[in-house]
């Protein structure tokens, strides 16, 4: 089936070459990092995780969100998701690949990554994260590829794939729960030491991931003859709305606990993020952008008649996705490191090489996504040809 990705329009190839160019720049920059170490990034003793791990955290959510399509379609027989569920699964595949690459990018000694499996350490959450992420990648690849292959031949997917699909549901929840546990179990990191962390992660994932999927589905429809389905897109819009409200609610809970308890350690990271701390305000504009975009997206999404208009839906989804990308892919991680363990402030901002590497990884993700979606589109366009 993969050969279908080898035939495409000029526009398709221009896009592929553009991605390859970005990947090339990213790879060259990465070689520099490999040589000189993480010193070329903005990371420091006080802020030891930054953009890379932020992107990783955010993308685990995108990957997990496929379950929002799998549950209605496979568990509730919601037929309208029949065409779009594969887009969700392949989005998960590319998101997990990006996750793995971002972890690799953050390692000081990436050549030794196999040590995680050579010396399994079940006490470490990173160990479990590696296990569940790779498992999830494998599950989605197998499920996506098998169902698409069956679809192409016009037959039902083989029976053995059903248990895997059911397994992928709790597995999706597990990848994001485990990722939240990376943060939520660390003594001395007040910002992250909260029991709602995993719940908040899941809520933001189920808002952000499907929002991205809506944008992608609209793009697929625009640029190909394959229509994932208007009703399916609207149904996802509903999911995004609920999940985003849940996410904002959970964030509100965090604010209450921090400020009503009046415990400095809990208030300081929030103050740093939203108003600045001791004159340090680097992240304040970003966080307010995120908050405003969140409100804008919710206002547009909450009225069914408004979100029915696809232009508005797309705008709302872009706002929402950007909002969550800032909040979870950046603020949530950096905020946990500020103030530092000595209640001082060391700010963080990604450097140019760090940003190039990050863009490179995103480009790899988009390349994988493009190729996989191209195959899907080709198969579906064939179907349409047969039907007509």
């Amino acid at each position: 089936m993969l050969e279908k990705a080898l035939y495409g329009s000029k526009r398709y190839w221009t896009w592929i070459i553009f991605l390859l160019a970005v990947i090339g720049v990213g790879c060259l920059t990465y070689l520099k990092q490999l040589n000189e170490g993480l010193g070329i990034t903005g990371l420091s003793r006080d802020v030891s995780w930054g953009l890379y791990i932020g992107q990783f955290t955010f993308l685990v959510g995108v990957a997990a969100s496929a379950v929002m399509l799998v549950i209605p379609y496979y568990l509730h027989d919601f037929k309208k998701f029949g065409k779009i569920v594969i887009l969700g699964e392949f989005l998960a595949v590319s998101a997990v690949i990006m996750c793995i690459l971002f972890i690799m990018a953050d390692m000081g000694q990436p050549m030794r990554v196999a040590n995680i499996l050579l010396h399994p350490t079940p006490g470490s959450i990173v160990f479990w994260d590696v296990v569940v992420l790779n498992g999830y990648l494998l599950l989605n690849l197998i499920i996506g590829w098998t169902t698409l292959g069956a679809d192409r031949k016009g037959v039902k997917p083989p029976d053995w794939v059903k248990p895997l699909i059911y397994l992928s549901v709790p597995w999706a929840v597990s990848i994001h729960t485990v990722t939240a546990f990376l943060y939520a179990g660390i003594p001395g990191r007040h910002f992250w030491l909260t029991a709602v962390m995993a719940a908040r992660f899941l809520a933001s994932a189920f808002a952000g991931g499907p929002a991205l999927l809506i944008i992608l589905a609209l793009l697929v429809r625009k640029f190909s003859k394959f229509d994932p389905g208007t009703e399916a897109i609207q149904a996802i819009g509903k999911i995004v709305t609920y999940a985003m409200f849940a996410n904002v609610f959970l964030l509100g809970l965090e604010f209450f606990t921090a400020f009503y308890s009046n415990i400095p350690g809990h208030m300081h990271p929030f103050k740093y993020l939203y108003v600045g701390l001791e004159g340090h305000t680097k992240l304040v504009p970003l966080m307010w952008t995120s908050s405003i975009l969140a409100v804008v997206s919710l206002v547009l999404l909450v009225f069914p008649s408004v979100r029915k208009k696809e232009g508005i839906l797309a705008f709302a989804c872009i706002s929402l996705f950007t909002s969550l990308w800032i909040d979870k892919g950046f603020g949530l991680i950096i905020g946990g490191f500020i103030p530092n363990m000595f209640e001082g402030v060391t700010e963080y901002w990604p450097t140019l090489p760090e940003s190039m590497i990050t863009l490179g990884v995103w480009a790899i993700g988009f390349l994988v996504l493009t190729v996989l979606y191209k195959v899907v589109i080709a198969v579906r366009e064939d179907d349409t040809a047969v039907e007509h």
Binding site: D46, P110, T121, V126, G188, F342
Partner: protein
């Protein structure tokens, strides 16, 4: 079927089990610190810092950097000295320029990014220096989070990092509540104080202890009741950092101020 004899026996064990922890709470003696120590090793390395004696000369930091292959000019140190200045307005001013590698050569407080704060002598209520180093916790969070077992605790209590096995994921750096870990600029692996393990296991003092001209730093064996460090820890009023996290740090401070984080 449970017979009467077993029932009585189990009940007795059950009651004993319930009362035992209560009894343990009733008698709190210095020996309790010893009872906390796990393992059968005859040694438990501990550190004693006398903050009254520290003048912030930074000789310990210099010695440590040279001893442990920490690039001299890189802004990372295994041990460092913090300066605390509390002014009449109740404000706390703290700094540690270059980890106090060159001592504190000016009365100005470093604010970072090349900025300084001038403090007039007459405004100062109290000021003091606090050396910091790895606490070699009895319950080390860094060991818990390491995904490859590259950081581990040896039976005599010291937490070590294997530079050849560490993957440099940075999880332990993030997980240490004392901020003592950092990335080694050259090896690209996690790095921290290990009480100069290569020295203490050969009967030497740590580099910082040897370098301190004022005796502000001492290393000892808590399991040896005759050790002068042990005697101080058992009989004097000593403090530890961030007790509330349950990490059981093993660096004890004489004269620890409440402002010290």
């Amino acid at each position: 079927m449970i017979n009467r004899r077993d029932f009585l026996k189990n009940t007795a064990i059950g009651i004993a089990g319930i009362t035992l922890p209560l009894a343990a709470f009733e008698i709190i003696r210095p020996e309790k610190i010893l009872a906390n120590m796990s393992g059968t090793s005859k040694t438990r390395w501990v550190f004693l810092v006398d903050t009254y004696k520290c003048v912030g000369c930074g000789l310990c930091v210099k010695a440590c950097k040279n001893e442990n292959e920490i690039p001299y000019d890189a802004n990372v140190t295994r041990t460092w000295v913090e300066r605390y200045v509390i002014t009449k307005d109740g404000k706390l001013h703290a700094d540690t320029p270059k980890g106090a590698r060159d001592g504190f050569t000016t009365s100005r407080i470093e604010l970072g990014q090349g900025k300084y704060e001038e403090i007039r002598d007459e405004d100062i209520i109290k000021a003091f220096f606090v050396p910091k180093l790895c606490n070699q916790c009895e319950n080390p969070p860094c060991v818990q989070v390491c995904p490859v077992g590259a950081t581990y605790q040896v039976p005599d209590g010291v937490v070590l990092v294997d530079r050849k096995w560490c993957i440099g994921c940075g999880y332990c750096i993030m997980g240490c509540p004392y901020g003592v870990r950092f990335f080694h600029p050259k090896y690209h692996t996690a790095e921290k104080c290990n009480f100069c393990y290569h020295r203490i296991t050969k009967g030497l003092k740590t580099a910082c202890v040897s370098a301190c001209p004022f005796g502000a730093r001492q290393i000892g064996n808590l399991k040896d009741p005759g050790d002068p460090v042990t005697k101080v820890i058992m009989t004097e009023r000593v403090g530890i950092l961030k007790e509330e996290y349950g990490t059981k740090p093993q660096v004890f401070y004489l004269g620890l101020d409440r402002e010290v984080k």
